[in-house]
Amino acid sequence: MKVLPSRPDFEADPALARGPAPAMIEIDRVSQTFRTSGRQAHLALSDISLTIEDGAFVSILGPSGCGKSTLLYIVGGFVSPTEGVARVKGRAITGPGPDRGPVFQEFALFPWKTVLGNVMYGPRQQGVKSPEAEAQSRRLIEMVGLKGFENFYPKELSGGMKQRVALARTLAYHPAVLLMDEPFGALDAHTRTRLQNDLLNIWERDRKTVLFVTHSVDEAVFLSDKVVVMTRAPGRIKQIIDIELPRPRRRAELLLDPRYQKYVVEIERMIDDTSEDGLRP
């Protein structure tokens, strides 16, 4: 895969410049079994292995119930896998940590805190002094386009605005990895497009590693360097597709680009093709 322009710090370090980008996340033969209420074991994820390089934007795409969110929760440390191991920067994941910042479809903002209070929460928890945390948070709020709404409560905001706050709140504690769990799934089409554009603009500034779960093919192709297509339950990796489209990406140009259209059609076919799904137990 060669989509990312080399980053300045990589050029400075000859050891890194020579080899491939270092692995940020390694998922090694991970399986997940859930006990359902009727004593049956439900296999949600089966034997997943995946390596995600530092600075890559990777989407996990699949039908609902394929365990793609579960995979994200395992990387987040919110769920521990039944089998296998997930590592971040080479260390086995044993629980949540500020190096992996989640953004959920449900926003999960703290409703008793204002926009500013929400964004400041992480830095304050990390021991950043209040005036400094506030200054940083105000900059982030401006970056996500919510300047002027610092003292609003989540209840007073629309869905799109809430998700902007959630993104700023997570970016505020500088996680190395962003874990996005269908973040735009609850938003209307127009808001969704605007947030996709803004997310890309923000991402292109500092190129954090992003693991992005979605069931929208368009969204995955538009945003990602790599799309991981999963099968229906039990979730397996069907195929990993490198999206070799130039960056920075502009939605209007991309929609007319035959390469973009080809990726979308190809992946949609792959998802419709259920011949491989659920054959093996």
Partner: protein
């Protein structure tokens, strides 16, 4: 303008209306055990002006305040822990199911056998009366806290006890305070009941002594005083509550149409 002024005056008008019906009713019935509203209202200042009565009423309030505070300190943490831990919930739930429907005043005789008729017995009954609704609402509030909110906190580095105090407690606060409001009214009820059973001091004691002695205007005046205490405490608490959980109040939630 007119309707707003009218709706502000409505509670006062309702009270005056009630007193008027009372006055008319007692004049019509003309029995000794049903004094007129006028004579009952006129007895109020003389009770509040009497030093002994005042000491009694303040005694009641002191017991109620202590028992109420103790109940909150006990019931809120317990309810929150039940809401977040299946183990704790499965241990305490059956106990609560048994104690919930039992009128706490019915336990008074046993409690009096153990603790006598003094402050401790009365405060224990109030404590029990307040605890149950507060536990129940804290439990429901904690159980409803969104998992993802706790995950977000965990990712920021909050430990499990920190998540309990800094996420579960504030997130459940609206529900907890609803329980506290119910608890406050129950505190007043159990306070009067406890003093009715274990007569020694307090507002309930004045009321029932007056009844025994056939001083009916004092009886009705005490009912007015206790009722006013209830209304006053409830209104004060409601003000505090709406201040604390302004962020969750409906009516304030007109989402902005902006992405």
């Amino acid at each position: 303008m007119m309707t707003r002024a009218l709706s502000r005056l409505a509670p006062l008008l309702a009270c005056l209306g009630l007193l008027a019906i009372w006055q008319a009713g007692s004049l019509m019935l003309n029995t000794e055990s049903f004094p007129t509203a006028m004579s009952a209202v006129r007895a109020v200042p003389s009770i509040l002006g009497d030093k002994e009565s005042l000491v009694n009423i303040l005694d009641s309030l002191r017991r109620m305040a202590i028992a109420f505070a103790a109940a909150l300190l006990f019931a809120i943490p317990l309810g929150l822990m039940m809401g977040r831990s299946r183990l704790v919930a499965s241990f305490f739930n059956p106990l609560l199911m048994i104690t919930y429907p039992v009128p706490k005043a019915a336990l008074m005789p046993i409690i009096m056998l153990w603790l006598g008729v003094g402050d401790l017995a009365k405060m224990l009954v109030i404590f029990l009366g307040v605890s149950l609704p507060v536990i129940y609402h804290s439990f429901q509030g904690a159980r409803a806290v969104e998992e993802k909110m706790l995950w977000s906190g965990a990712a920021m580095g909050l430990s499990a006890p920190q998540r309990m105090i800094r996420i579960v407690l504030p997130a459940a606060l609206p529900e907890i305070l609803t329980g506290c409001r119910t608890g406050l009214v129950l505190a007043l009820i159990t306070m009067v009941t406890s003093e009715m059973i274990a007569r020694q001091s307090g507002a309930g004691n004045i009321l029932f002594n007056a009844l025994d002695m056939g001083q009916y205007d004092t009886v009705y005046a005490m009912i007015i005083i206790i009722g006013a205490m209830g209304i006053g405490l409830d209104a004060a608490f409601e003000r505090l509550r709406s201040r604390l959980v302004r962020w969750s109040e409906p009516g304030f939630d007109i989402p902005l149409s902006f992405a």
